[in-house]
């Protein structure tokens, strides 16, 4: 039975691919929220347009996906967040950008809007103004409590954001994040952009996931246009995606240990990360492999010496990495810091649909590469590690296992690479009105969702990019509760959520 069968809808949109999208009544909208609340569906995305809101939902069992749309004829829509908390920041963002009002919302504080853009509701197309009020943090009351304010400029070389801790002595009673500092207006820059310009923006939504975003953007365009990238191009895409995953996991495993003052691991994994980036540079001409994946295929083939460089990288990883795993596993002072620290409850991971190692370390068995099995992962064999403990240690182990899987995947891909075309031709224009596409890819930190609508000249009319961090950041607030403030960097690094990806 399809997701939409149990949700009363007015009509389905025929130009939406590959999953169905339906315009629903208020009853249908509420029925969809019911399914989220009861846990039979997971919220995948929630985004706005000047006069409509869309919700993407996943049926975890069947891996079926559907989008429901509520048309906001009176500039308002029934609040999702007041009934289903994972939607909260997305709902506040919809209000910030489009001025649509969720009713009846119990939290309508701004999220991305810090009142300095020079205009309110920038994507609404209207000239409305908004009352400026000081940002109110949620209260935490008690005799011995004190607050610690951190950021937006942090002590390390990391992205900006504000953390407000309320502590009782050393122990964190409440952490509240206030983000939006890196909001660049990517969705507005997407509007009217050519596919080429839009792909560049997608690459730079979160630089550490450039490949995953470009991959998802390209798949969404291809779904909308009903074209397919050639086999060789899809294999090269997956090759880059796995290299990106390797580089990030290696860098972060070391950085987590470094936040527990174990610098040796940081130095060693830093070398391996650098080797990955250098191999990527040899193979694809860019260390972060930006702008190689485009709608239709890839812009370049792997360099002639790229295969040898990658095989050498795999050999090096197979030689060195097992020793580092042993080092991690056998260093008691390190384990003392990571085991039982920053636990994410399995219940929250499920409710929030937390992707990536945050979800998989807390029992949520979801990986877009396997669940959606987008090309070429349908023809590759790999395992998806899942653990139950939910602590920093479990998140490290998921990453260790994923490094091993990525090494195997790269080898399989290199073995399967056969000569072939690099890009399918895009039609010059569509000719039958707008078309819509959607795609999900697995970045190193979790699933990236891209939804877009193209006009008949193949320009982007509207594009929404949803980072996995949207559903992970709130869980960091829960994970740090009861831990000491000094363990926050460790917990934070074990999540490594994207600021830029979620601030857009």
């Amino acid at each position: 039975m399809g997701i939409l069968d149990s949700i009363s809808h007015i009509h389905t949109v025929s130009s939406h691919r590959p999953w169905p999208r339906a315009v629903v009544t208020e009853a249908g909208w509420q029925a969809a929220i019911d399914r989220l609340v009861e846990g039979s569906l997971t919220l995948l995305g929630f985004w706005g347009e000047p006069a409509a809101v869309h919700m993407a939902m996943l049926d975890g069992g069947s891996a079926e996906i559907a989008v429901v749309t509520y048309e906001c004829t009176a500039g308002a829509f029934p609040s999702v967040a007041s009934r289903h908390r994972p939607a909260l920041r997305l709902e506040r963002t919809i209000h910030d950008l489009f001025g649509l009002v969720p009713g009846v919302a119990d939290d309508l504080r701004p999220w991305l809007d810090h009142y300095v853009w020079g205009k309110s509701y920038p994507l609404s197309g209207r000239n409305a103004s908004r009352d400026v009020r000081p940002y109110q943090f949620l209260p935490a009351e008690g005799e011995a409590l004190h607050q610690v304010a951190v950021g937006p400029v942090h002590a390390g070389t990391i992205e900006p954001g504000h953390f407000r801790f309320t502590a009782n002595g050393e122990h964190v009673v409440r952490l509240e994040q206030w983000l939006g500092y890196t909001h660049k207006g990517i969705e507005s820059l997407m509007q009217g952009a050519s596919l080429e310009a839009a792909a560049k923006l997608a690459n730079r939504t979160s630089g550490d996931s450039a490949v995953a975003y470009a991959f998802a953007f390209a798949c969404a365009v291809e779904a909308a246009l009903q074209i397919e990238a050639p086999r060789r191009a899809t294999l090269l895409r997956a090759l880059m995606a796995e290299l990106e995953r390797l580089a990030n996991h290696l860098g972060d495993i070391g950085a987590i240990c470094n936040d527990a003052s174990f610098a040796l691991m940081h130095a060693q994994t830093g070398i391996l990360r650098e080797r990955c980036l250098r191999a990527a540079n040899v193979a694809f001409g860019h260390r972060l492999m930006m702008d190689v994946i485009v709608p239709g295929g890839v812009t370049r083939d792997i360099a002639p010496d790229g295969v040898a460089a990658l095989r050498a990288l795999l050999a090096e990883l197979r030689k060195v990495f097992p020793r580092l795993i042993e080092l991690y596993d056998n260093t008691a002072s390190l384990q003392d810091r990571t085991v039982t620290t920053g636990i994410v409850k399995a219940e929250y991971a499920r409710q929030f649909g937390a992707g990536g190692y945050v979800g998989r370390a807390s029992g949520r068995d979801f990986d877009a590469r396997r669940a959606i099995a987008y090309t070429p992962y349908d023809a590759l064999s790999f395992e998806v590690p899942v653990l139950q403990a939910g602590d920093v240690n479990a998140r490290v182990w998921i990453r260790i296992r994923e490094v091993e899987q990525s090494v195997e995947l790269i080898e399989q891909i290199l073995d399967q690479l056969e000569p072939g075309g690099l890009a399918a031709a895009l039609p010059p224009r569509i000719g039958h009105g707008a078309c819509e596409g959607m795609a999900l890819t697995e970045a190193f930190r979790g699933d990236v969702l891209v939804w877009l609508r193209l006009d008949d000249e193949l320009r982007v009319e509207r594009c929404h990019l949803r980072d996995a961090s949207w559903f992970q950041w709130p869980l960091l607030e829960t994970a740090i509760e009861g831990n000491i403030i000094a363990d926050f960097p460790l917990c934070n690094k074990s999540f490594n959520c994207s600021y830029s990806g979620a601030d857009l």
């Binding site: 810090h114 853009w117 020079g118 992205e159 900006p160 550490d208």
Partner: protein
């Protein structure tokens, strides 16, 4: 652990020879000579990195400067946790309006003499984010900039070339 440490000691160093300072960077800096500052700082500079809304690509490459291949500290360059300890602000991103005030405050908190290095295409003129309602566009539109390092993102070698040029300039060697 012992094996890993021993191997690090017995194997040759991974650290690569220093690249030559970037000539165009030296030319850009030559217009901003400050002899008094040169005398005081010698060949040691403390760097505070400020992300003013980047995509985090530049941060990844700035991080790489500390790995064994580039080993930035051998040049007397080191990253510090507070602008109050810094001689150099390394600024990335198209300066989002949401970060403008924080950037200004960080600049004001940095003691004189100080230098500002704008890193990456966005920091030069806003890059692909230029024109957005949410971006100021270019670091120099918010605080004075002494040196620009191009690239999207600049490679660690490019970053090193620019920073070495700054070091040469500060230590008055040219």
């Amino acid at each position: 652990m012992r094996k890993t440490l021993l191997e690090s000691l017995t194997h040759g160093s991974l650290t690569e020879p220093a690249p030559a300072p970037d000539e165009s960077a030296l030319a850009e800096l030559a217009t901003k000579v400050n002899r008094a500052a040169q005398a005081r700082l010698g060949r040691s500079l403390a760097i505070r990195e400020v992300d003013a809304g980047s995509c985090n690509g530049c941060e990844l490459e700035i991080h790489a400067l500390s790995n064994a291949f580039y080993d930035i500290e051998r040049f007397g360059l080191r990253f510090v946790a507070s602008p109050r300890h810094a001689d150099v602000l390394l600024v990335t991103g198209p300066v989002t309006k949401n970060m403008r005030q924080a950037l200004e405050r960080t600049y004001n908190a940095t003691p004189d003499p100080k230098w500002v290095v704008a890193v990456g295409g966005c920091a030069i003129d806003g890059g692909i984010f230029r024109g957005s309602y949410a971006c100021v566009g270019g670091v120099s539109e918010t605080i004075p900039v002494d040196l620009h390092i191009k690239g999207c993102p600049p490679s660690p070698t490019d970053l090193l070339k620019g920073l070495l040029a700054l070091l040469e300039h500060v230590s008055g060697k040219r």
